[in-house]
Symmetry: D2
């Protein structure tokens, strides 16, 4: 089977996200790196792409040039990854979808809810794939968690509790470091800081595992480092359409937490816990029974989990291969086998609606606000 | 040094709390069990007290009889523990204080804020000790945490995050079990279920370690088992007087959590974490540095921690000896050396004010409410 | 029920072991501290005993005086604890047994196998209780482990792997500290250092949980700090009578391990793990199934475990209450209900035989040696 | 920079090892999959290679055909991976080296010490790279551990303790499963079962981190499932050239252990611990200080660790990327920058010598035996 052709926009030399996507796309041998517009400096980007093995005529200077170049080729790329600064995601994603490309967009998919709804409509109209890189949902044991909820192993979910907290922005003396500061400046980050950056992954995962959507929320934001205009700590209480109660804490000043992203789901007949720093296990307790450790690779896990695991039980698989799992799902989807777990434009717009709802709630002392995009009300 | 004389009200045969207090009082040999009114059935209580070694003339039928019997003795008890049903705490505690006894009251100290304020005033007036059994604060490593905050090891505390969650009331088919049901029935439990039962320990500990008081709060309550009138899950956002942001989650339907009581404090220059299921360690991270494990028994811990540890490093000490530490502090206080860490009537009334504030907030969609007793505003 | 009368020899002011025994004896209210010869300096010991509440006429100057004083009293002590320097255990234990006292002897019970066999014979002859303080075996979840092995939950045990390692003697610059040095000097410690001090607890526990005896062993000793005559690190391979394979590692130079005492038992149909730093859980895996966490206090545990637990599930109980459990078993035994789990003189002599076998094996490059006392061959 | 050309022998469809090597070679984009002889059935192997994107003329029927085809090409493969059954490793590796290819050989490199020494000599003579896939040594934090030992952070290593235990062969009813049985049958596995299969990884890592070689050893083997001719559980005591004491336990009947591979190194001034199920942390304790958690991605780690990490702190990287790290080192080595950490033919023959020494020792009741290949004595 020939490899699929893959192009990337952004992710230039020195970025973290570029190598993560390249590894994700290449690791399983289903894509080849065919085209790229990797840097906002045209020559730098072309040069870097060539060094990474892209043919000279497909090493582009910017995304417009790449779009013009690729759209008329018979051997056009099968998938374009958008890994540019946040504010540009909408325009690029829109343009590529409209020209008939499949797209994997980094989060956030857009900056506004309107833009997000536009992307959903365009994706539907064109029939093209628009995926969003909520890559944590592609960890094998997260897929298992969702399968267990769907299978009724917990009964109806009553409560979901999730955290995404770290302390890497906890040093006030480092707060002016440009790599930190932009996240708390509305001019660069938009309406929200830590919630939009990290919390939104947790909110997506709550929806993903519970197989339900956030309906309304109440938020409490804090800028614990007072020079920050945007929040560095947030608590979101929410309710899902099916009635599940949600609690989400996110922080960037939790000194000592490294990557404290975890989720617990409690239902009528059992509870589950998963933590991103120990991603190959799922902790399960049936009501009235003992806590059990479910291991990636044990017999009897769901099809999705088996498909997205590469090595035997207790051989850890980490974050880069969760990204690779998104590409596995995309390769299948491009080949015609849509994978139910692949996060898409609807997920993207729901996240954006939740961010804006949380910001509005926090400004109004935690008033409860509808968190759904208008199109999904 | 002669032992101090100790009496107990409540804690009859078959209760959990009775043996915990007896062990706490006797373990270190500083008290002898001298008097008791252990059961609401007078004869049963007298008989049980005698079997536990109390002299016949001090094995009483009820608390009034005990009060009458003890107050005129020259060798009256030095301390009375009140471990009766919650609604009776106020009257008993008040009566004993007024007759010049030192009291250790189980939590909640009272059912209302007014009653709580009354106890504070009486204790002050009489000069007697009125302690409240927030026993978790007497774990050696919790004392160490407070000492570190006071010493400035974290800088100013920005954020405190605490949970007290378990799943032992998560089985709806067991919800009518009388041992479970009373906690969710206003007739027996008062205005709050899980928050008043467990969450209040977490709130006390936040104040205790941060050495600050809760000023205002916003609450979200849920009865995830719909037959319950009172909440079985609650989230409290709060602010302390000094500006510290607080987050508190408590649940009794978190199936798989056994005794999920933990606390994290994050300040300007470091973070701390303590968990009640692993109480002999404290996890500390200085900003920009590595996470360290502080062990009970290591050199250099604070005086309070050393005084309240009994065995060498890494020999675990558990919950019953945290209760015993309260009695150690009480013995010292009765001997004239008041211990700063001993929870007192002010803690009791602050807790009650927070419970009532949370209930009011939850009823009003999370509106922020002053959580202080009027006397401390 | 009147309290039993308890006397202690050794455990003077400033020792660690004295308070541990007093707490163990007093915590559950079954003994009163009636007599003592607490210090090798007669006056100091008498004074300390009196300060601890012992009546003047039973505050003795040495063990001989106490023996003379107690043996003719009608209200003689029901139990004598021997917590003196190791080399004196034999003579004191022997003398008290011969005079008809029940004894709890600290480990090691004796210095030689011959002495150990003598104690076994005397205990049998007199019908008195001679217990040895292998207190780890009295942790509730250790009792549960043994009950599960006996119930066949693991099938026949194939393999037992146990470690007792710490790093508290790992600092060569502290090696001349008298509190450390004596353990590695044959003049004070006898034939073995770390194995006799800590390893023997692990060996006892292997026998205890597997309900079997060590038959032969092969040892590798090392003095990793070269100035030490006795070993500070040892590995013992052994075989039990029933064929179970054993592995035991013990070290005092494992810097970073605090109290690394754990045990794993693997049988035909399952595996168990217990660790002394997390003593309230037992980790169990049925063959082909998931790993489960068994919690102290969960429903359905064995009678012994229930009897020796004091507080509800997930409220930790630690080392001092394991010691207290030995006293609970002793109180029952004195009252006529012998507890099967109580370590006795046979355990004591088996340990001593294993120590001598290990020393001999280590000297002969690990040759396999019969580890049984002659009387049990 | 053009990609290097890579060929694989063995690793056919359905094997675990084939995908692991392909991912390892492709993930970082430094190799392309150019040639293959993937299956002992020529047509099946050719077909599979073509499906994986190998050109028809380089999809070979067996290793001899591939050798003949590649050796005369100007664009011959830069690296050949040998992932065939163990008994064939020697002949294939030898032949490719002699024809001037670089080789990555799966473990065991050979079946005998003589063969191993032959490979060392041939590699030296030809100047070609002969690497052996001790991939655990390529985990970033294992490299950090070695760097810390080399930097003297532990002082002189006194003691290394390592385990590699699992329970996946613990079910006697599954012992005749061909995927299990071959490992305990001398006809297929050679002289050793579990020690040669897993234990040897632990022994390599002890040498790797301590930067020293095993000099002599004493072994205790057991076939706890009695139908097995070869051992399923083994304990090895050893001494390194520099005097470090070693302890190694390996088991395949440790029911409940999934991938219990860990290592602890204790030196004069500190201790280290690493565990393969939590590979992104290293636990470090300086003598007299607190235990610290060192995180992959934290500032100041050694160059090797930084080079072989792909994603930010606390984003886990797992086993497949440890394999990829071997390929990273190989790509550098082929480009002329030999990486000191890359396991080579000397490691391969030392392992084989240790296996044979352990077997001989175990047969002679644990007699101590020189574990070095004659060429390194």
């Amino acid at each position: 089977m020939a490899k699929l052709k893959w192009g990337m926009i952004g992710g230039g030399e020195g970025s973290q996200i570029g190598p993560a996507h390249r590894l994700g796309a290449l690791a399983d041998g289903r894509f080849e790196f065919t085209a790229g517009a990797l840097d906002h400096r045209a020559d730098v980007g072309r040069d870097y792409a060539k060094r990474l093995g892209v043919a000279t005529d497909r090493a582009y200077g910017d995304w417009q040039e790449m779009l013009a170049g690729e759209k008329n080729r018979d051997d056009r790329v099968d998938l374009v990854t958008v890994a540019t600064p946040n504010a540009t995601h909408f325009e690029i994603t829109k343009s590529y979808l409209e020209s008939g490309f499949n797209v994997l967009c980094e989060k956030p998919m857009t900056m506004t809810v309107d833009e997000g709804e536009a992307i959903v409509r365009i994706a539907k109209l064109t029939g093209k794939i628009c995926a969003v890189n909520y890559c944590y949902s592609a960890y094998p044991m997260v897929r298992q968690a969702r399968a267990m909820v769907r299978a009724g192993d917990l009964g109806k979910p009553r409560l979901v509790v999730t955290n995404f907290s770290h302390g890497h922005h906890g040093d006030a003396t480092d707060a002016d470091n440009p790599r930190v500061r932009w996240r708390y400046d509305p001019a660069t980050a938009g309406v929200s800081g830590q919630f939009a950056d990290c919390g939104i992954h947790a909110l997506h995962m709550a929806s993903f595992i519970c197989d339900d959507n956030v309906e309304k929320l109440s938020a409490d934001f804090a800028s614990t480092i007072s020079s920050r205009e945007l929040e560095d700590d947030a608590m979101i209480n929410f309710r899902m359409t099916g009635g599940t109660v949600g609690r989400l804490w996110t922080s960037s000043v939790a000194i000592g937490r490294q990557h404290g992203f975890d989720i617990q789901v409690f239902g009528e007949t059992g509870g589950l816990r998963w933590a991103s720093e120990q991603p190959n296990q799922l902790i399960y307790t049936p009501v009235g029974g003992r806590t059990q450790i479910i291991e990636k690779g044990e017999p009897g896990l769901c099809e999705d989990t088996q498909r997205l695991s590469r090595v035997a039980i207790a051989h850890p698989e980490g974050f880069p291969l969760a990204v690779a799992n998104i590409y596995c799902d995309l390769a299948d989807a491009i080949r015609g086998e849509m994978r139910d777990g692949l996060p898409n434009a609807s997920d993207g717009v729901r996240s954006m609606a939740a961010v804006h709802a949380a910001v509005a709630s926090a400004k109004e002392a935690g008033v409860w606000i509808d968190a759904r995009p208008p199109m999904f009300r």
